[in-house]
């Protein structure tokens, strides 16, 4: 007998809890299927260099998606992640190239800019009660414009900071294990994911993410300063966008002020494909990473197969629907 009716829980729910490890393994299913299919379809797919390319292609979207995950779990949304990333990159460029300061200050500039912008979004939402969609839509546009203004509508190159590209494209792991030249960008993605998962699962901030998304009013009635926590969560998400800004700038060895809009949709899509509900209260970082990987594997695989671009789009749309559906079926059966 596995179920515990005395507990008042259904057997399915009990199973879910009893075997969370099992569950998490299975969540890879759609991803694994995709990888197998592409491997069979093209010998060029399943190669170390391509696997690394896929991971690297996931890094920026993955980090943005982690930021979006935090906010979405609170029941909010952040449309500004893409342009905030760019704005942080531009600020790093200003500090490193225009002001000629040393690398750590550039990194700090990106992170602080992100946290500050997140604080503003969070304040608009928590204190001024502006719906998250509007507040972050407004911020998206403001940051997009400011990136252009501050950069003078041109890319800022990091030529004076030769170590800058190393942030994303160097390989710390590769320097230790030469056969595993995983770029730092990927390492950073996984570090950010681990940190975010830890924060969500093990800290008060994470707890309030879920609690706010689940029933904000109940949390407030429990005497918790919900506004402050919410602002904190948006600020953290903003700082994570700052990391994404560093990653992309380092990869392109430049802050491209015009880039960024549209990235929010990819990030949110990864979150939702990963099983986090847009209505808040539930979600996992692992799911988000899998969601982001599904998206990059798909794109990479279809490109390697030289599928015509218009059909790539059709297939991507279809496979996203199918993957999510399959995932839901699997959970329902379970």
């Amino acid at each position: 007998m596995t179920a515990t009716p005395a507990n008042g829980t259904s057997s399915a729910a009990a199973w879910l809890k009893a075997s969370q490890a099992h569950q998490k393994l299975l969540a890879f299913a759609s991803l694994v299927v995709l990888i197998i299919v592409f491997s069979l379809a093209s010998p060029n797919f399943m190669q170390m260099s391509n696997m690394i390319a896929i991971l690297q292609a996931t890094s920026v979207n993955g980090v943005l998606a982690i930021a979006a995950t935090l906010v979405i779990i609170t029941g909010g949304i952040d449309l500004s992640v893409g342009t905030l990333m760019t704005f942080c990159a531009v600020m790093a460029g200003v500090v490193l190239t225009y002001l000629g300061m040393p690398l750590p200050l550039g990194i700090a500039a990106a992170l602080l800019t992100g946290a500050l912008s997140g604080t503003i979004s969070g304040t608009l939402i928590a204190k001024m009660k502006i719906p998250p969609f509007i507040a972050t839509l407004g911020m998206m546009l403001i940051l997009k414009g400011l990136s252009l203004v501050i950069s003078g509508t041109k890319p800022i190159y990091f030529n004076d900071t030769p170590s800058f590209p190393v942030i994303s494209t160097g390989s710390l792991i590769g320097s230790v294990f030469p056969s595993l030249p995983i770029p730092n960008g990927v390492l950073i993605l996984f570090l950010v994911a681990a940190a975010a998962a830890y924060i969500l699962g093990r800290t008060v901030l994470g707890r309030y993410c879920f609690a706010l998304g689940s029933n904000e009013e109940a949390v407030r009635l429990s005497g918790v300063n919900t506004d402050a926590w919410k602002i904190g969560i948006y600020a953290l998400a903003g700082a994570i966008c700052g990391i994404a800004g560093l990653l992309i700038a380092s990869r392109l060895n430049s802050a491209q002020p015009a880039l960024g809009q549209g990235y929010e949709l990819d990030a949110i899509a990864a979150v939702v494909i990963g099983g986090t509900s847009l209505s808040g209260g539930r979600g996992t970082v692992l799911g988000t990473i899998i969601g982001a990987l599904i998206m990059s594997v798909l794109l990479n695989g279809l490109r390697i197969l030289s599928v015509a671009q218009e059909w790539q789009t059709v297939l991507t749309g279809s496979i996203i629907i199918i993957a999510v559906y399959a995932d839901m079926m699997r959970r329902r059966r379970a």
Binding site: F45, S49, L259
Partner: protein, 290 residues
């Protein structure tokens, strides 16, 4: 007040190319003491947004309008309206299929891309596999550059095989990923053509990240990164237009037209192929932008 007012409605705004056009227009504005504004939609698919910009420009009762049509036909009703109001139109960048514009300051993208194809053929020994990373699948410049390149290869270089044409929206990151996939799928690829600045830089990045050194890259437009890539030998060469000249000539022609002077119908702003050898040549350096 009574300064002559000339809005330029372009196809884009954020790209360096467009910023260079704007710089040329601003230069002319200063020189001839007129007021110029410069506007364009976020990307080259937004035909209707461009039409809205054109309507707002018309509402300002300008002396003349510079216009780089995303889709000539779609803009014709508004161009007619301008004509009725005696507002002269000067087409720039890639021309307008209509006789309304008094003058056109544009690049022949088909010919320019064909030149890129010839250079590519030259550099890879007239045979082998090449690919294209194009900035747009449906916009005029995207189509012309793709077709200009592809058709020239087909006509003149039968031993060259085009294995892949993919579109990266001129986004550097997307173009990087595309390039890496193309290289992954075609390890024996010899060359890649990137059809505008963002695409070309993306190709350079992608090739670099794939750890390949033997791929011939031909780009389009300039910008600091592309110029550097050519100097560093990462990129073999690129086509450049004369964006500053386009902006400048557009405004100049607009002023003339507004004053009722006759203007030359076709202002050829030209295009050039540049590489390590001639990049510092003053004639070339003058049409490159950072």
């Amino acid at each position: 007040q009574d300064k002559m007012y000339i809005p330029l409605i372009s196809k884009g705004f954020q790209h360096q190319f467009w910023q260079a056009v704007k710089a040329g227009a601003d230069k002319a504005a200063k020189e001839f003491d007129v007021e110029v504004t410069f506007e364009g939609p976020d990307n080259e698919t937004m035909v209707d947004k461009q039409i809205d910009m054109l309507s707002a420009a018309l509402a300002k009762k300008p002396a003349a309008i510079g216009f780089a049509a995303l889709d000539s036909q779609a803009a014709i009703p508004l161009l007619r309206k301008a004509q009725e109001q005696n507002i002269p139109i000067i087409a720039f960048d890639s021309g307008v299929d209509s006789d309304i514009p008094m003058a056109t300051a544009a690049t022949d993208n088909i010919a320019a891309a064909a030149l890129a194809a010839d250079k590519m053929a030259d550099l890879i020994g007239d045979e082998g596999k090449v690919a294209l990373v194009v900035h747009d699948q449906t916009s005029r410049t995207g189509i012309d550059r793709r077709d200009g390149f592809v058709n020239r290869i087909k006509e003149a270089h039968p031993k060259i095989e085009i294995v892949s044409i993919q579109y990266g929206a001129g986004d550097q990151l997307q173009s990087t990923e595309i390039t890496k996939s193309i290289l992954q799928a075609n390890p024996d690829l010899k060359g890649i053509f990137g059809s505008n600045e963002g695409s070309a830089i993306g190709v350079v990045n992608g090739v670099k990240e794939s750890g390949r050194k033997d791929v011939v890259i031909i780009g389009y437009d300039s910008g600091a990164a592309q110029k550097q890539a050519i100097k560093d030998g990462l990129m073999a060469g690129a086509i450049t237009q004369n964006p500053v000249g386009i902006g400048y000539e557009t405004v100049k022609a607009a002023i003339a037209a507004a004053k009722g002077e006759t203007v030359e119908k076709n202002i050829d702003t030209g295009f050039y192929y540049y590489d390590k050898s001639n990049i510092d040549d003053p004639k070339i350096a003058a049409v490159l932008y950072d």
